[in-house]
Amino acid sequence: MNLEELKKLKEKAQRQVALREGNKKYRVVVSMGTSGIAAGAREVMKTMLDEIEKRGLEDVEVRVTGEVGLEDVEPVIRVEEAGGEKTTYARLDAEKAKKIVAEHLEKGKKVDNLAVGKEKKPE
């Protein structure tokens, strides 16, 4: 850890706060409980934030939640769409997170081989 790195933090935090405001089409919720963190949820989160910024996706917000009861398949994220549709992705890493940003959040195409559980269609 050095001070130069920390100084970059300020600019970065400002940019990310600016990205997150308002109603968005997609909301990504990252499970950030103890088990999620231990499995690498922070790296997944960081990769997603970086990738969303790099691709200039403005209609996405990234939030955090506690344990979601899927400890054995962490890191877990949930992508919620404005229409109410929810998709859960599990056993992620940085590469898979990038893929989800590129496919689901940019093109609107679900990444079926990473998704788990039943689809929750809006009622």
Binding site: M1, L6, L9, A13, V17, T34, I37, R42, V62, V64
Partner: protein
Amino acid sequence: MFEELSLHILDVAMNSLTAKARTVQIMVSEYARRDLLTIRIQDDGHGMDADTLRRVLADLTTTKRSRKKSIGLGLALLRQTAEMCGGEFQVRSTPAMGTTVTASMKLSHVDCPPLGDLNATILTLCAANPAADVQLHYLTDTEHFHFSSKEPAEKKVASRPNPFWSGEEKMNYEPGRTQKVERESAAAGCLA
């Protein structure tokens, strides 16, 4: 077991945000001369009473009733790391006032984990609750760094138009109201 101290910080500070803290102060000091690394996470959340505190310090206890599968290892893991590295661990909490978690380690201890990516931890916490003020104080023998997430956020909020109160509505509604008030006060002036 966490490989980086910054992951411990993230885990404990997530508890602070869950406890509805408005300010989370994270202090990390690395004093090479005194061979001491100290981490302090201080919040103004809803705190814990003595009984709850005793329970959370025991292994495998969580206060989160909503999740049947919650583990409750966060503080126990940090205590284990601190004690393994020749340091101390302390939690102080007052209901409605907040909680302070302090852990210290010997910097030179062979088991002392690296601090790791502290930036990623802070950015994650900022994203976790944009309304909370996440502060970082990083101290070494010679340098001091301070960060607060509230400074940029507040400026941003101030310049944002309120979606529930558009300018148009204000134009239609406000003048009549103020005129009426003015008339009343003018009438009051005449009477006086």
